[in-house]
Amino acid sequence: MAKTIIKTVDLRKTYMQGKIPVEALRSVNLEVEEGEFLSILGPSGSGKSTLLNLIGALDKPTGGRLFIENIDVSTLNDNQLADLRMKIGFVFQFFNLIPRFTAKENVELPMAIAGLSKGVRGKRAEELLEMVGLASRMNHKPTELSGGEQQRVAIARALANNPRFLLMDEPTGNIDSKNAFEIMQLVKKLNEEKGVTIIMVTHDQRLAAEARRTVHMLDGMIVSETVN
C-alpha cells in the first residue's frame, strides 16, 4: 500500500463574516496517498476551496488536525508554513502569474525564492516549459499568452521546486473547453507518467471524472466518495 501524504482528522474551519461565524468546514476526514489523482467535487460554498487552502498551508484550521507527511501543520509557525508551501505546487483558477515577468521568469520565481542560482533555475525553467509544451513561448509575458498557455505556465511554475503534491483550484474554470481538455491531458500525464500526486478542486462533474477518485462535498463535509 502506498504512503499516506495528507491526512485530515475532524478538520474544521470557521470564518467570521462580519460578526456572523460561517462554518466552512465541519469535520472533514480525508486521506490522500502518494501518487494519487484525487478530485474534490462540490457546488460553490461547499467548502472545497477552503479545504484546498488548508492542505496548501495557505490558511490555518480552527479545529481538528491536518498532517502533511506526518507533520501536524497546526503546530507550525509562519516561517515553517512558508517552507512547507515551497514543497507544495499550487495552480489557481486565475493563474496568478506575475504580469511583469515573462513565462520563464514566472517559472523561475519559486526557485529564486528557494535560493537557487540564476543558471540552475533558468535551465530548469526551460525544461519545465518544454514539458508543458511552451518551448517557443517562454519569453512572452502573460498578457501575450492565451488562458490555456497561462495555465500551462502556472503548472510549470507549480512543479518548479519538485513539490510533494500539486493542488489545483478549478484549473480549467477560466479556460475554453478545447484548451481545458488539453490541460486535463497534461495533468493526467503528469500523474500517470511522472507520478505527481494531484488534488483538484472543481464543480464540474465531467472534469472530476478524469481523476481516479472523487470526493463529494456539501456544506463543509465530505458526503460521498466514488472511484472512477
Partner: protein
C-alpha cells in the same frame, strides 16, 4: 532568496511604475539637494571668511579694546599711551594704538562717509606687512602731519577706474565734534600719499579697503583725544601659551576694563557661529527630507495595497514574511540611494549657481560700499563639499527612506496569504 534576486525583483517592481517612482525619488532628491547645497555654501563661506580673517588679522597679534568685546563698552578708556605700557611687557614685539572715527571726506566736490583710522604708519606696516602695502605712492617712514593713506575702495569706489581720489590729491576731512556745544564740524585738508593695494575681505584691526589712514599724532590733535579704540599687540610667536600669558599680563597692567582678543578666539567664535548656522540650515533642509519620507511611506502603502495579490502569490510560492519585508525595503533602498546620489549632484550644482549669482551681485558698487563685514569682491566663495557631507547625505538619505518604508513593508509582510490571494 538571494539578496541579488531581491534587488532585481524590487527593481522590476519600481520599473513598472516609473512616474510614481520618479516622483518619490524627486522628494528625496530635493531634500538631499537642499542639505548638500546649504552645507557646502556655508562651509565655503566659512572657509572664505576664515582665510580672509587670517589674512587681515595675523595669528600672532592680540587686539586690546575697552569694555566687553571688540570696540564695545565705554566706562573704561583705553589711552594711546597704554600702548607704551604694553610694549614693555614680555613677549611683545610691537604695540600700537588705533583711533577710529566716522568722518566725511571731500574731494573734487564729492563727499563720502568713511572710517578714519589714526595709526602709526610704520609700526602698522610692520605688523600687517602683507596687507598694508601701497599700490600707488609710498607709505612714508616719517609722515607729514597732513599725510593720508586711502584704501583701494576709497580711491576707486565704483570699481571702474573713475577715481574718487588718488596719490597727490588733497582730501578734506570733516569730523563732527559731538562733545562741543554747539556741535561743530572740524575740518582739515590732508594730502593723499598712498593708495593701498586691494585687501579684500574684512578684518579686525587690520587694513581694510574702505578706510582712510592718518598719522596717530594728527588723529590725537584733530579729534582732541588721548583715548584710543584699539591697541594692536604683536607677539613673538603665535604660541597658544604665550598668547594666553600675554593676554593675562595686559589685563593685569591695564585693569579689568580691557578686553583682550586673540585671532584664534575670534576664529573660534566665527567657527562656532557657523556651526550653529550650519546645524540650523541643515535642520530646515532635513525637514524637507522628512516630508519626502512621509511621501515614500504614503506611496508605499498604496503600492502594498495594489500589490496585495502579488504578495499573496509570493507567499503561496513559499516566500517568508521576512523576505517580503526585505523586498519592500530593497525598493525603498533603491529609491533612497538613487535619490541621494542625484540629490548630492543637484545640491552641488545648486551651490555653484547660488554662489555665482551671489558673487556677481557682490561686485556691484552698492553692496561693496555697504559692507565692510560683508564679503566683498576680493573674496570668492567656493562651495566646499567634504567627504563627510557626502557620506552623511548618503547615510541620512538611506536611513530616512528605509525608516519610512519600514511600516509599509511590515504591512506587506504581515498579510495573510489566503486573504491576499483573494484580494481583487
Amino acid at each position: 532568496m538571494r539578496i541579488i534576486d531581491m534587488f532585481s525583483y524590487a527593481f522590476s517592481a519600481i520599473r513598472l511604475r516609473k512616474l510614481r517612482a520618479g516622483l518619490t525619488t524627486l522628494g528625496v532628491v530635493i531634500g538631499i539637494a537642499a542639505i548638500v547645497a546649504l552645507l557646502s555654501i556655508t562651509q565655503g563661506l566659512q572657509t572664505a571668511i576664515s582665510s580672509q580673517l587670517q589674512r587681515g588679522f595675523a595669528t600672532d597679534t592680540l587686539i586690546v579694546s575697552a569694555g566687553g568685546g571688540l570696540g564695545g563698552g565705554n566706562e573704561f578708556n583705553l589711552l594711546v599711551k597704554d600702548a607704551q605700557t604694553i610694549r614693555e611687557l614680555e613677549n611683545v614685539t610691537a604695540s600700537i594704538a588705533v583711533i577710529q572715527r566716522i568722518c566725511y571726506v571731500k574731494s573734487s566736490g564729492l563727499t563720502r562717509r568713511v572710517t578714519v583710522i589714526g595709526v602709526d604708519f610704520v609700526a602698522y606696516r610692520d605688523i600687517y606687512s602683507s596687507t598694508f602695502v601701497a599700490e600707488d605712492g609710498e607709505i612714508p617712514l616719517n609722515p607729514e602731519e597732513d599725510a593720508v593713506i586711502v584704501g583701494k575702495q576709497v580711491s576707486d569706489p565704483w570699481n571702474n577706474g573713475t577715481l574718487f581720489c588718488t596719490t597727490g590729491d588733497t582730501l578734506e576731512i570733516i569730523w563732527t565734534n559731538t562733545t562741543a556745544r554747539p556741535l561743530r564740524n572740524e575740518t582739515y585738508t590732508g594730502r593723499v600719499v598712498a593708495v593701498l593695494r586691494e585687501v579684500g575681505g574684512f578684518t579686525v584691526g587690520g587694513p581694510s579697503d574702505s578706510r582712510v589712514y592718518i598719522p596717530i599724532s594728527k588723529a590725537q590733535s584733530f579729534f582732541g583725544t588721548e583715548t584710543c579704540e584699539l591697541i594692536i599687540v604683536k607677539l613673538k610667536s603665535d604660541d597658544k601659551a604665550m598668547i594666553d600669558s600675554t593676554a593675562k599680563a595686559i589685563r593685569e597692567a591695564l585693569g579689568s576694563g580691557v578686553t583682550v582678543t586673540s585671532s584664534t578666539a575670534v576664529l573660534n567664535i566665527i567657527s562656532n557661529v557657523f556651526s550653529t548656522i550650519e546645524l540650523f540650515l541643515a535642520g530646515i533642509a532635513a525637514i524637507s527630507l522628512l516630508v519626502a519620507g512621509i511621501g515614500i511611506m504614503n506611496i508605499m502603502i498604496v503600492s502594498v495595497m495594489e500589490r496585495t495579490r502579488e504578495i499573496g502569490i509570493l507567499k503561496a510560492l513559499g516566500m517568508k514574511n521576512r523576505q517580503v519585508l526585505l523586498i519592500f525595503l530593497c525598493e525603498a533602498a533603491i529609491i533612497g540611494f538613487l535619490g541621494t546620489l542625484i540629490g548630492i549632484g543637484a545640491g552641488w550644482s545648486l551651490a555653484q549657481i547660488v554662489v555665482r549669482i551671489f558673487g556677481s551681485s557682490s561686485g556691484a558698487g552698492g553692496l561693496r560700499q555697504a559692507g565692510q563685514a560683508v564679503v566683498s569682491n576680493g573674496t570668492t566663495i567656493t562651495p566646499v563639499l567634504t567627504p563627510t557631507v557626502i557620506l552623511g547625505a548618503i547615510v541620512f538619505g538611506l536611513a530616512v527612506t528605509m525608516l519610512f518604508a519600514l511600516y509599509p513593508a511590515w504591512i506587506a509582510a504581515k498579510l495573510k496569504p489566503v486573504e491576499a490571494l483573494r484580494y481583487e
